[in-house]
Symmetry: D2
C-alpha cells in the first residue's frame, strides 16, 4: 500500500527513469538490483542507456521494465543551431538502434502520435512534432509503385486532449491503429521532470509505451502494446517541473554544497539534512499545497524552447525512419 503511494509519488514528480533511478539510489548510496545503466559523454551530449531488467528494479524506481535512453544536453537552451543539429543526429542514431533492438525492420509501417494540447505551450510538443515530421503513408497507399526506395510508410496524428475532444487519446489512437494497421507506434509527449535544469534539455526514449499518470496532460489510460496491439516507443521531453520539486531539489543541492565546502551540514540545515528525499518532499508539498503554490511551472522562454526541441525530434525521426534521409543533414527535411 505504502509502496504504491510511493510509486504514485515518483510518477507524479518525474517521468524520467534516469531521475527516478537517481532518487532511488540516493538513500541506498549505491546501485539498485535489477537496474543496469551506462553513460557516455560526447562533446556536451550525455547519453545514458538504462535497463530496468526485472520486477525488483521496476518497484525500486517506480518505472516499467524496459529500455530507456536519455539524451542530456545542458546547453540546448542557448539556441545554438549547430548543437541542435548534432543532437538531432545523435537522437537519430540512438533511435535507429532502438528500432533494431525491437526487431522493427526497415519497411515496418510507423504511426507517430503527438500527445498533448496544442493550446498549452509546454504541452504542445507532440502536436508540434506531428506538424514537422515527414509523412509518406498516403504515397504508399495511392501510388505504391512510384515511391522512391529508402522510404517507409509513416503517418502522424495529434489526437488532442480529453478536455477538447471528450475522448481519451488512447481510444482515438486505438481506432486509428485498427483502421490503418501500423507495425509500430511512436508516441511523443511532454513530461514532468524533478529538476529545472533538465527541462527542455533532455530527451527520453523508452520501449515501454505511455503509462497512466505519466506525461503532463493527466492521461488516465495508457498507450502500450497491451492496449494498442503493436509496440509503442515513447519519446518524451520534460517541459515542466513542480514548484515543490524545485524546492526539494535545491535543498538537496544545498546539502552537497555544504558537504563539498566541508561545512557542518547538520548544523546548517538542521533536521532537514537527515530526512530522506521523499520525506522532505512530502514536507515541502504540505507547506506549498494548501496555498495553491504547488503549480507545474515552465521556463519563461518555453515558446522558443518547444519549437527548437520539436524540430530536433522531427529531424531525428525523419533520418532514422527513412534510409534515404541522411543522418548527417537531417534538418533540411523539416521546416
Amino acid at each position: 500500500m505504502e509502496k504504491e503511494l510511493d510509486l504514485q509519488l515518483y510518477n507524479v514528480r518525474t517521468d524520467l527513469a534516469l531521475e527516478a533511478k537517481e532518487m532511488a539510489e540516493a538513500p541506498r548510496g549505491g546501485p539498485i538490483p535489477g537496474i543496469q545503466s551506462e553513460t557516455t559523454e560526447d562533446n556536451g551530449i550525455t547519453i545514458t542507456q538504462l535497463h530496468v531488467q526485472n520486477e525488483e528494479g521496476s518497484q525500486a524506481i517506480g518505472k516499467m521494465q524496459g529500455h530507456y535512453v536519455t539524451i542530456e544536453v545542458p546547453d540546448l537552451r542557448n539556441g545554438d543551431t549547430g548543437l541542435q543539429d548534432r543532437v538531432a543526429t545523435q537522437f537519430a542514431k540512438h533511435f535507429e538502434s532502438f528500432l533494431e533492438r525491437l526487431s522493427i525492420n526497415k519497411m515496418a509501417r510507423v504511426l507517430i502520435v503527438g500527445l498533448g494540447n496544442w493550446n498549452v505551450t509546454p504541452d504542445a510538443l507532440g502536436p508540434l512534432v506531428v506538424e514537422n515530421v515527414m509523412v509518406t503513408r498516403h504515397f504508399f497507399e495511392l501510388m505504391p509503385d512510384q515511391v522512391a526506395p529508402g522510404y517507409r510508410a509513416v503517418s502522424a496524428v495529434a489526437p488532442g486532449v480529453l478536455g477538447i475532444t471528450g475522448i481519451e487519446s488512447s481510444e482515438i489512437v486505438q481506432g486509428i491503429v485498427e483502421k490503418t494497421h501500423p507495425d509500430v507506434v511512436i508516441a511523443i509527449d511532454a513530461l514532468a521532470s524533478k529538476s529545472v535544469e533538465r527541462v527542455n534539455t533532455t530527451i527520453q526514449i523508452a520501449d515501454t509505451g505511455i503509462h497512466p499518470g505519466s506525461g503532463i496532460g493527466n492521461k488516465r489510460k495508457g498507450l502500450t502494446k497491451e492496449i494498442i496491439g503493436v509496440p509503442v516507443i515513447a519519446i518524451g521531453v520534460p517541459t515542466v517541473v513542480y514548484a515543490s520539486t524545485i524546492v526539494n531539489n535545491t535543498l538537496e543541492m544545498m546539502q552537497s554544497h555544504f558537504k563539498n565546502h566541508s561545512g557542518n551540514t547538520d548544523q546548517i540545515m538542521g533536521l532537514m539534512n537527515q530526512m530522506e528525499e521523499n520525506e522532505r518532499l512530502q514536507l515541502v508539498k504540505e507547506v506549498l499545497s494548501p496555498l495553491g503554490h504547488d503549480l507545474l511551472v515552465t521556463p519563461k522562454e518555453i515558446d522558443e524552447f518547444i519549437e527548437d526541441i520539436a524540430n530536433i525530434i522531427a529531424s531525428g525521426l525523419n533520418a532514422s525512419l527513412h534510409e534515404a534521409v541522411d543522418t548527417n543533414n537531417v534538418a533540411a527535411y523539416t521546416h
Copy 2:
C-alpha cells in the same frame, strides 16, 4: 459521360446546393423536377429549405438526394455581434428541426468532426468549431450519475488533412466511430462557392454527409452513412471561390444589368450573351488556367471572418444539442 463531366464541373465550382439549383434553373428558365424549395426571410437572414427528392433532381443539379438548409446573411461580414447572435439562434433552431426530421433523439450521442487544415486560414473552419464547441462525452463516461439533466454526450475531433497525417480523414473518423459508437456524426467543412458575396455569409446544413470532391481540401473519400455506419449531417460554409467563377458570375450579372437597363445585351456582350453558363465558364477557365490564374481565392479579412462564423456555429450547436443550453443566449457557452 458528358453528364458526369458536367456534374464534376458543378461539384468543383460550388458546394452549395442552392447555387447548383440556381445554375441549373437559369437555362431552363423555370423549376426543376425533383427539386422542391422554399425560402423565408427574417430581418436580414434568408433561410432556404431545399429538398432533392429523386435521382432526376440529383442529376439536374449535381447534388445528392436529401435535405439542405441554407442560411444566408449578407451583412454577416460587418462584424455586428447582435446579428451574429441572431444567426446562431436561427442556426440552432433549424439544426434542431434537422435532428428531429432524422429522428435523432435528445440523448443520441454525437461526434462532431472538424474537417480541414488548421494551418490554412480559409480551411480552418472545422478545427476552429471543434476548439469552441462544448464537449461532454467524458463526463458521461467517467461519472454518468453526476451529469446534470439537459445534456447529451458530445465529443469532437479535428482529424487533420492527408498532407499532414498521411491518412484520409474519413479513415480516421471511421476508426474513432468504431471505437466510441456515436449515434450521429456532424461534419463541419469549409466549402467553395461560385459567388463572392456568399463567401463567409452563408451556412449550409445537409443530411447527405460529405462527398468526395466537396469541400476545399480535396477530399478523395467521403464521410457518409454508407462509409461510417451512422448518419452524417454536414455543415458547410463557403470560404473560397475560384477566380474563374468570379469572372463568370460577373458576366452573368452584367447580362442582367444590361437587360434591366434595357440595353441591347447582344450588341454589348456579343456571343458571350448567348452562351450557356457552363459553356462560358469553360471558356473562362480555358483562358485563365494555363497561366495559373485560376486560383481559389478568399477575402482579405478571412482571419476575422472565419473566427466569427466558427463561433456562430459552435454556439448554435451547443444550443441545439443540449436542452439545458438556452437558444436565446447561446453565445455565453463558447469563448
Copy 3:
C-alpha cells in the same frame, strides 16, 4: 554601496511594492517609517493602497516614492468569468481614483503603451492589452465634431523589445509622445514576483512610471515623467518568478509552518532558520546559479492566464477612460 546592492537585489526579485514591503518588514517585525498602507477585502478581491511617502521609505523597500494599488485575487486562475468581470470593475474603479488623484481630467489624452515581447507568452501581457483596448484618437483627429460625448482620445502602441527592434522601447515611446502629445502615458508590463501564488492573480497600479530593471524584459531605460515629459502610470501583473525565490519563499513558509505547529524551528531548519531573508536568498542563488537552474519560470497554463488577465485590464481601462463605457458591464467593449 551595499545598500545599492540590496536595492538591486529586491528589484530583480520582485517588482511588486507590496512584496518588497513585506520583505522589509519581516526582519524588523513591524511597520516601516515612510510607508503607509491600508488593505480592504471584498468577496475574494483584496485591495492594498500603499504609499511610499519619502526617501526613507523608498530606501527601506527599494521602491520609488509614490502611490501603489495592488489588487490580489487568489482565485483568478480558476477561469471563472463572473469573478473576472468583478475584477475588471474593481480595477476600473481604482484606476479612476488614480487618475483623479493625479488631477488627470476626463478629456485628457491617453497613450497606452504595451511593453514586452509578443513572442514570449509570459512577456506578452502589454501587447495583448494593446490589441484588446478601444482606441479613439483617430476619430478625434479625423472627425472631431462627430465623436459622441463620454469618450476621450486614446491611442495604443506595442513598441516591441530591444532584441527585435534594436531600439530601446523608451526611445520609441518618447518619439511617439513628442509627435502625438498625449497628456498621460499608461504603461502595461509583465512583472516578476517573489511568490508563485501571486503570479497571474495580482495587478499592481503605480504612479511612478516604469524604472530600469523592473519588468521581466530587462529594460535598461525607464519610462517616467522625467524621461517622457508627461505622467506615466504603470500597470503590472507578475507572470514569472525566479526558481530561487520559489525556494526561498518556501523555506520562509516552512519556518512559519513549524512555528505555528510549535516545532523547534532551529532544530528542524538549523542555521537556515536564523538567516535573514536576503542572506538565505543569496545562499540559494549561489547553489542554483552555477548550474543554470535559476531560471525565470511561469505556470504551465500561462497561455490561458495571460489572455484572461489582458482582457480584464483592457475592459477595466475602457470603463475608466471613457465615461460612456459602463463600469458595470465593461467586458462587452473588448473581445
Copy 4:
C-alpha cells in the same frame, strides 16, 4: 480633375508600376514618353528596371517619378526552397545596386519599417519581415567598439495600423526617426495587384517611398523623404487583388485569346471588345459594387505564401545591408 480620378483609379487598382505601365501602354499600342524600362530574365526570375523620368511619364502611368525594380517569379508559389534562395540572392543584388544609386554608403544607419496589420494575414508582410530581419543598432549603441566589421546599424519596427493604434503609422515612424536618426528608411508593405498571377510572386523595390492610397491598408498619409526627412525605399509584394480587376483582367485575356485564335473578337465580345480598359473596369465595378462583391481577395494558401516571401525579403535585406553576410547563403541568417 478627370485626370486625377483616373490616377486614383490606377492607384487603387494596382500598386505595381509595371502593371500601371502595361495598362497605359495598351491603348496607345506603344512606349510612353518619360518611361524607360528594361527587362532581363534568368532561369525563371524576370527583373524589370523601370524609370519614371519626368512628370509626363508620371501622369501617364499614375506613379511617382523614380526608379522601380520588379522581380517576377511565377513559380514562387510552388514552395521550392532552392528557387526561394535564388530569389533572395537576386533581391539582395538588386537592392544593393539601389542603395548605391542613392549614394547610401555601407555604414549608413537603416530603419526598417514593417507596415500593415499582423492580424490580417495578407497584410502581415511588413510585420513578418521585421520579425525575421537581423537588428544590430543596439550593439552599435551599447558596445560600439565590439561590433565586428562588415555590419551596419539596423533597427526595425512594425508601427501597426490606425484601427489598432489610433495613430497614423507615418506619425509613429516620424517620431522614431526623429529620436533615432537613421540615414535611410526601408518600408515594407503588402500591395494590391491587378492580376491574380502576380499575387505573392512579385517583389517591387522603389525609391519613391510610400504614398497615400498605396498598399492594402488604406494609408492616408505617406512615408516619403518630404515627410520623414530621410530617403525612403519601398519594398512591396502584391498579396491581394480586387474581384473587379480579376474580371477585367480576364476579359482582356479573352480578347488576346480570340485574337490569337483568329476569332472575330467584336462578334464574340460585342461592345466590350471596343471599350478601353478603364471604361470596362468602371462597368465591372458598377455591376459588382452595389452587391458588395468587389472585395479584395487573396489566394487560399496565403498563410504559407506570406511566410515564404517574408523570409525571402528578410534574407535578402540581411545580405545586402551587411557586407559580412554572404549573398550566396543569405537564408542561414534568418529563421
